[in-house]
């Protein structure tokens, strides 16, 4: 011991002794543990070895089953051929006496094909089980052979009675052959024989055993091994030893031809077949080289290695703890950096979002349809958007720096700025509608909102103007209002006219009857004649009211307007007088339109009269026609215009013209600029009503001193034009002097009904009268005799005229129909036009007119 070395203290010796004891105890414990592990390892090694060998036995049994299945499947294939329709047909034909030379050989062809399909050459289908298949006659002659009858002859003789069906090994062990005898009508008819393909047999075994370790051999009942050509396995044990191996599948140990090899072997029977499967394996191939002793040594070394590794791990662990602490700190810092990074990314994203929102706002303002302007607090313009430039015609550069009042103010609106500023002092916005001027001086109406932009302290920092051009909107509103007004007046006028017509029918009719009853020179006669004249004027007025209200009955037809104009030209010349020149240039190839020719004539007459009155000192009246196709924009110029193809009728004069205040009212009923008594104020209203009822529309342009132009647009009609109606000669009395026919009068107005009863009876007719449709039908039933004419009102309670006519004519086809009406009420308006075959007489009528229509209808009946 070195003097420098400090002597161990008693305390230190005790500690050492304790340490030594601990070490010894640990060593004993370790040795004990190692010993325990060695025993454990030895026992488990034995168990593993036994299990491996048991598994191997089971595997061999599986292989035997697989081989048995292969043989069974092959046998089934051959059985199928033996029982096939083709084989039966051959023997059937042979039984019929057919010779091979004449026909029988043909029956072998499908059998030949079938056999060939079972035994394709190797490579075509690796699963095919047969190398060659043949159908042999009872004497062994091949009838069909998969190898072809001109191929290798079937050289294997066999005794058909001695060889049982199934797979057999050839004496030389080279071939497995399947035999199957077959019978026809109870007689032995031949054999099907097939060579099993070695490939198929060996592949079945290889697939189960694994390609790297083939150790199975097929033995027949005599213990001969199957050794196909090209697959000649060298058995590792001598053949004499094979006989000593039990055939019940037990595993036995045998020594190999080489003394240093140890083998295990077993023979497993192939189920259902006279074959067994021999398995011979080196023990080391099955369980490896690991013996229990070697395991113990290996285990000891392994334990020592594990201990060393544990110590090393403890050492390394200490170091790794330090490293871990550093790593944790580093991770903490990294986390902080990541959080900062995320916060920065959020901020960037927020900025990008704000920038995008700002850009979106800028684009929206730029592309907005509304005009937008922004000013400084003093109201000087900083910014205007393109819509404002478009509406006003001013560029942004021209407006920048100018007072806002220049935009929304107009003539006489200089005080608006103060008004706006006063409003904004108390309200969030100011809004108003006003007329302003564009850059080219054209006026336009605008709806404007001005709001204040304030800073957080409430101080105004900007003014924002948002405006909308409402010129077109106002124009449309005005058009709508005007149309509604005409509609309302029309409805009122139509309603009044209806009642008036019934009254006038009675007044005029009874006046006529009274007149007929008075002697010439009676002083009352002239008074009643005056009543009749007043009634006629009133009837004319109501007719015009009906025309305006579009509730008169039209009988439209397809016409060429220029022909219609030519027809009325003479009448117009008479109307306007010689001091006015009439010009009627007409467009070539004019389209056709659908109008009531009589009503169209009324339109021309009214417009001509209107023009005549506007040209007291003479002038020129031009009536022209043209085909036009109106675009959407062009159609908007007219209050009720719609785009499409039209025939345009233009009536223009060189008269006094009208001012702006008059123009909107020209079509109003009873509106007239003529002096009292010169006009009814219904002429242009009638024109308006007829045109609208004919699905057209019209417009008027006029300026004082520059004349007036009316444009009438009638929709194009594609159908062919119909001939214009020829004037019907007025037959004022029946041609026979006194009528002998029967008329059924249906009229809900009592006075009118009674009037008709009196007038028609006086004419000689037999008159039946009913108050409505149902009563009329019942009356006709009761009457029983022939009814020649049904004279019916159109609008009646319960059953209207058109419906009554339909039912009536169904029951009485010989009866003719004449309608009468005060106006075509809603029911007529809905149907618009009555059946053109039926006659119609408008209330109030002159009785001769009605009598003439009746006579004409009756005389037009077919004679029997």
């Amino acid at each position: 011991m070195s003097p420098l070395t400090p002597a161990p203290s008693p305390k230190g010796s005790g500690r050492l002794a304790r340490r030594t004891g601990a070490v010894v105890a640990a060593g004993v414990a370790l040795v004990g543990m190692v010993g325990y592990l060695l025993v454990l390892n030895y026992r488990s090694s034995r168990t593993v070895r036994e299990n491996l060998l048991r598994q191997h036995v089971q595997q061999a049994q599986l292989h035997a089953v697989a081989l048995g299945n292969l043989f069974s499947a092959a046998d089934k294939d051959i059985r199928n051929v033996a029982e096939s329709r083709e084989v039966a047909a051959f023997f059937e034909n042979r039984d019929l006496g057919m010779s091979m030379q004449y026909g029988l050989a043909l029956s072998l062809v499908p059998i030949q094909e079938r056999l060939a399909s079972l035994a394709e050459p190797p490579g075509a289908d690796p699963e095919r089980a047969f190398q060659r298949v043949a159908l042999l006659d009872t004497d062994g002659t091949p009838l069909a052979d998969s190898a072809g009858l001109d191929g290798t002859p079937w050289v294997e003789p066999f005794d058909p009675e001695a060889i049982p069906d199934g797979v057999r090994l050839s004496p030389d062990g080279r071939r497995l052959t399947l035999y199957r005898a077959f019978w026809f009508k109870g007689r032995y008819a031949g054999h099907l024989v097939a060579w099993l393909r070695p490939d198929a047999v060996l592949r079945t075994l290889e697939r189960l055993a694994g390609s790297d370790r083939f150790s199975f051999y097929v033995l027949d009942a005599e213990g001969r091994a199957y050794r196909p050509v090209g697959h000649d396995p060298a058995l590792p044990v001598l053949s004499r030893r094979i006989q000593s191996i039990p055939t019940d599948g037990r595993m036995v140990e045998v020594s190999g031809d080489r003394s240093d090899e140890e083998y295990v072997a077993m023979r497993v029977p192939v189920p259902g077949q006279p074959f067994s499967l021999l398995d011979v394996d080196r023990v080391s191939d099955l369980v490896g080289d690991l013996s229990p002793t070697a395991s113990a040594v290996n285990l000891t070394v392994a334990v020592a290695a594990v201990l060393g590794v544990v110590l090393l791990a403890v050492f390394l662990n200490t170091k790794s703890l330090v490293l871990q602490a550093r790593l944790d700190e580093s991770l903490l810092r990294e986390q902080e950096v990541a959080e900062k990074h995320n916060a920065l990314q959020r901020e960037v994203a927020e900025r990008q979002r704000l920038q995008a929102a700002h850009a979106l706002l800028a684009v929206a303002v730029d592309q907005a349809a509304e005009a937008i302007a922004v000013t400084d607090p003093a109201g000087l313009i900083d910014y205007v958007n393109p819509a404002l430039e478009r509406i006003t015609g001013f560029s942004a550069a021209e407006l920048r720096g100018r007072p806002l009042v220049d935009l929304y103010g107009g003539p006489g609106s200089s005080g608006v700025t103060k008004e706006v500023m006063d409003a904004l002092a108390h309200e969030p916005m100011w809004k108003g509608e006003m007329t302003s001027r564009r850059r080219d001086g054209a006026p336009f109406d605008a709806h404007i909102i001005i709001s204040a932009v304030r800073d957080p302290g409430g101080k105004i920092v900007n003014l924002l103007l948002v405006g909308r051009d409402v010129t077109e909107e106002k124009r449309l509103r005005e058009q709508l209002r005007h149309r509604q007004k005409l509609e309302a007046v029309g409805t009122l006028a139509g309603g009044v006219a209806h009642d008036f017509n019934n009254l006038l029918t009675a007044i005029n009719g009874y006046a006529g009857l009274a007149l007929e009853g008075l002697q010439d020179g009676d002083p009352v006669k002239e008074d009643i004649a005056e009543i009749q004249r007043a009634g006629a004027r009133a009837a004319d007025l109501t007719r015009q009211l009906l025309a305006f209200s579009r509730k008169q009955v039209l009988k439209p037809q397809v016409v060429a307007l220029d022909i219609a104009i030519a027809g009325v030209e003479k009448l117009l010349r008479r109307l306007i007088g010689e001091h006015i020149e009439l010009s009627t240039p007409r467009g070539a190839g004019l389209w056709r339109v659908r109008v009531d020719p009589g009503q169209f004539e009324q339109v021309l007459v009214n417009l001509a009269v209107n023009a005549r009155d506007a040209m007291p000192k003479g002038g020129r009246l031009t009536i022209s026609t043209a085909n036009v196709v109106l675009s959407e924009a062009e159609a908007r110029r007219y209050a009720e215009g719609a785009p499409g193809p039209y025939v345009r009728l233009t009536v223009s004069d060189t008269g006094l013209g009208m001012d702006e205040a008059t123009l909107p009212h020209v079509f109003d009923p009873f509106f007239t600029t003529k002096e009292q008594g010169k006009g009814t104020g219904l002429g242009l209203s009638t024109v308006y009503g007829i045109v609208r009822q004919s699905r057209g529309f019209l417009g008027v342009q006029s300026e004082p001193g520059r004349g007036t132009t009316f444009e009438i647009f009638l929709p194009r009609e594609l159908a062919e034009a119909e001939p214009l109606p020829s004037p019907v000669p007025q037959v004022l009395r029946s041609r026979s002097g006194r009528a002998a026919e029967t008329v059924l009068v249906v009229e809900d107005e009592r006075q009118v009904r009674n009037l008709l009863l009196s007038q028609l009876s006086a004419e000689g007719y037999t008159v039946l009268a009913a108050a409505d449709g149902r009563e009329a039908l019942a009356l006709a039933e009761r009457h029983g005799g022939q009814i020649d004419v049904l004279l019916s009102d159109v609008v009646m309670p319960q059953m209207g005229g058109p419906e009554l006519a339909r039912v009536f004519v169904e029951r009485h086809p010989e009866t003719r129909v004449v309608f009468i009406s005060g106006y075509a009420d809603e029911a007529v308006a809905r149907h618009g036009e009555l059946d053109r075959a039926a006659a119609f007489v408008q209330k109030p009528w002159q009785f001769p007119e009605l009598a003439g229509v009746l006579r004409r209808v009756l005389d037009q009946r077919p004679t029997s």
């Binding site: 329709r85 034909n93 006496g97 057919m98 010779s99 030379q101 026909g103 043909l106 062809v109 030949q112």
Partner: protein
């Protein structure tokens, strides 16, 4: 021979030629030899649905063969369907038949095709009106009966003439079905002398077997090609009694005025036999044929 005799003979010859012209000359704008077919750009194949030669479904051994031939010539293929009585008139442009096989005297008719390939048996009268390719298929005509017929098949003697005689003996006083103007025409085999009751049916050749099975006759003539198919279709319902003709051969018919077209086809046939195409077609449409006629098909290789 003096001058007047020569002159008279020349006049007679000229008159005969002029008289024969409207009868003998095929109609204008038709036919032609190989060059005309190439110039026209179309090869018109006359065919009749029959066995596997022309199936009627757009294919058949002859259809495929002629289609390949057209392809070889570089022209478009066109199938023209005809029937047995009209087949040779459609080819030759003359109204010829077995009983009127004189081309010079037969009236003219429109030419509708350039070659007739439809399992056509080479018969002497046909060779008088048309020229045939090298044989493309063998055939023979048999007598067949229903399975329940009392007539029993003959035992082959090894000599086909003796076998035919044996069969003819069996036909006496029995009804025998045939189809005129075809290879199943009884007149081709002198059956009138057998005292058989000959029944001529207007049916397609492949309908003869079902007609027989339906009981419309006791016996029928059937060529080997149809017999192959019938025995497959109706096994156990028919039996072959024996031959009524010696071994025959089928060929493709051409106009006698089209020797170059026939030569081109023969050259084509040699080539397809060599390269295996012909064998594949036979195998496709008549798989039994090489087994039944091994000598023909071995020679055809």
């Amino acid at each position: 021979m003096n001058y007047s005799c020569v002159q008279r003979a020349a006049k007679l010859l000229l008159a005969a030629c002029l008289a024969a012209l409207p009868l003998g000359a095929p109609l204008a704008g038709d036919g032609g030899d190989l060059e005309a077919v190439k110039e026209r750009g179309v090869l018109r194949h006359l065919g009749i649905p029959y066995a596997g030669f022309v199936t009627g479904s757009g294919d058949g051994m002859d259809v495929e063969l002629v289609r390949l031939f057209a392809q070889r010539l570089g022209v478009r293929y066109e199938f023209v369907q005809t029937d047995w009585p009209a087949a040779l008139p459609d080819l030759t442009g003359r109204q010829v038949s077995a009983k009127a096989a004189d081309l010079g005297r037969a009236p003219a008719s429109p030419v509708r095709g350039d070659m007739l390939a439809t399992g056509l048996t080479i018969l002497p009268w046909r060779e008088r009106v048309a020229t045939f390719s090298t044989p493309v298929f063998p055939t023979q005509v048999w007598v067949v009966a229903r399975a329940d017929s009392p007539v029993q098949p003959i035992k082959p003697s090894g000599n086909v003439e003796r076998d035919i005689a044996a069969v003819k003996v069996l036909l006496a006083r029995r009804s025998v079905l045939g189809v005129s103007a075809t290879c199943l025409d009884p007149s081709l085999y002198q059956l009138e002398a057998t005292q058989a009751q000959l029944v001529l049916k207007k049916v397609r050749l492949d309908e003869v077997a079902p007609v027989l099975i339906n009981g419309e006759g006791e016996l029928a003539l059937l060529d080997v090609a149809d017999a192959m198919i019938a025995l497959q279709k109706w096994p156990g319902r028919l039996k072959v009694i024996g031959p009524i003709s010696v071994r025959q051969q089928m060929g493709v018919a051409f106009r006698k005025e089209a020797p170059h077209l026939r030569e081109a086809f023969d050259a084509f046939l040699t080539e397809v036999r060599r390269d295996g195409t012909y064998r594949r077609l036979v195998q496709k449409y008549f798989p039994e044929a090489p087994i039944y006629f091994p000598d023909f098909f071995i020679a055809a290789r």
